[in-house]
Symmetry: C2
Subunit: 288 residues, 2 copies
């Protein structure tokens, strides 16, 4: 059974949930964790997400066959440098970062040749923060994107893909570049827009907010440090997405200026239909 010894670097909501999910689905796996804060380390052990927790990443990865980077993306570079000398030959390293191009490049550069890196992005999470919100079923029926490169080790790739499947995920392989482009559109830009929609409001307008506004801006309540790192890492795609969003809104305003009711209906219906199709597909994926 793989892994026999798992190391989770960063035991927040995602890292903690990985620990709980492994515990409930993979037998005889020893789990060590690294946490920056003492409270996080203690809670990770207390809720059973890890067997042992270290304040030093090198100690946390020793003798492990699988290591998962689960801190905010901005910490990955220093984390990789710290663990590189401590990793066992043949160890597989993956991550849960929301961006992939830079991470994959960094890991392939920093890690020694006897270690195999495969980038992962499990699309699961919450606007909640911290190990206290960790859940063993966070990954069930969700999608995990895996981003191999031309130099990826085939067995390591299969092992990482198998690992996420054991946690109940569907997996999909795509290049780091395609990943970052699609995720900018479907996740990073919507987050930026939700934040901008909140920031542009006057207090008088906010007082009139209904359920629609609350839902539309839910993702704006995410962790600021985490999203800062994602935005900085994927800024080129984010800029491109913002430009295309602008073009779509400009098209609406043009139709409004022309008073073209039929075209506006069509524009709205197309959005409504695509969103409904998406929802049906998601419900089907979830088996509900």
């Amino acid at each position: 059974m793989f892994p026999k010894r798992l190391s989770i670097l960063g035991t927040g909501l995602l890292g903690g949930s990985i620990g709980l999910a492994v515990r409930s689905r993979i037998s005889n796996c020893k789990i060590t964790g690294y946490g920056h804060r003492a409270a996080t380390r203690e809670n990770a052990v207390k809720i059973g997400a890890v067997d042992q927790s270290y304040d030093n990443p090198s100690n946390a990865v020793r003798d492990c066959d699988l290591v998962i980077l689960a801190t905010p993306v901005g910490v990955f570079e220093s984390l990789l440098q710290m663990i590189a000398p401590a990793l066992s030959p043949g160890a597989i390293v993956t991550d849960v970062g929301s961006t992939k191009r830079n991470i994959v490049q960094l890991a392939e550069k920093i890690l020694p040749a006897h270690v195999h890196f495969i980038g992962s992005h499990p699309i699961a999470g919450s606007e909640k923060r911290g190990v206290d919100f960790a859940r063993a079923d966070l990954f069930e029926n969700a999608q995990c994107l895996i981003t191999p490169t031309s130099t990826s080790h085939a067995e390591a790739l299969a092992a990482v893909e198998g690992f996420w499947r054991q946690l109940g995920m569907r997996t999909l392989q795509l290049s780091p570049a395609a990943h970052d482009q699609y995720l900018a559109d479907i996740s990073h830009l919507p987050h930026a827009v939700a934040a901008a929609l909140v920031l542009m409001q006057s207090q008088a307008a906010l007082d009139l907010a209904g359920k629609g506004f609350i839902d539309t801006t839910r993702i704006a309540s995410g962790d600021a440090g985490l999203w800062r790192d994602i935005f900085l890492d994927n800024r080129d795609n984010l800029r491109n997405g913002a430009e295309r969003l602008r073009q779509n809104l400009d098209r609406l305003i043009e139709m409004l200026d022309q008073g073209d009711g039929a075209a506006i209906s069509q524009w709205l219906e197309q959005a409504s239909r695509r969103r409904d199709e998406l929802l049906q597909k998601k419900l089907k994926d979830l088996g509900s």
Copy 2:
């Protein structure tokens, strides 16, 4: 008890819910309805939203002391022209339209002097459509905006405000102009943005959508005809809001170009904090 005879013109989700709410909270009120489609008329009677349903608005308003326009906004003008000769002296007319400037102006122009119009906008609803989704509790603890003008009849204003309160709503008075400006920012623009966020996606990106995207774009599943009317009616404010949203997104992109992580964190934290405050306030309003 007011009203004794209520007429609901348009018995969809909102109109139907008004009927059900009146039935459960106001005794001895006879409710007549007008519906465009035969199926809607039949269902409105069947679920008990109205006592009697007409295919002609003039017949539906005869002898009523309160008339509520609950069709899409685009139909209001012809509706007002049709009912004007049939309204009883002293009758009060209100509406549930999502825009107010043009509606209030139209009503004050078209309706005879012996009838009193007061604009209303109950902020309640759903992306669902039709009388089948009507609910007696749709208005409970929600907010109703009331938009009197300098010529509004004081007693009619008090009566309309009292009516919505009887349905369990909190009421707030503001001018039609202020209403349309705030609602463009907090409701109409978010809807347009949700639709644009769906339309800009490639199919490959849509296939990677997570729960965040589904929630952010929920309102894009609304009724296209209804939103077309709202957008056309409030196009100046919508254009202004889109411009301010763009400025906020441009500010983010500027910070990204400068690699200013501290400023990006601050931008994100401010959005997160304002949204959390809003959520807390809403939960408090709902008494949960």
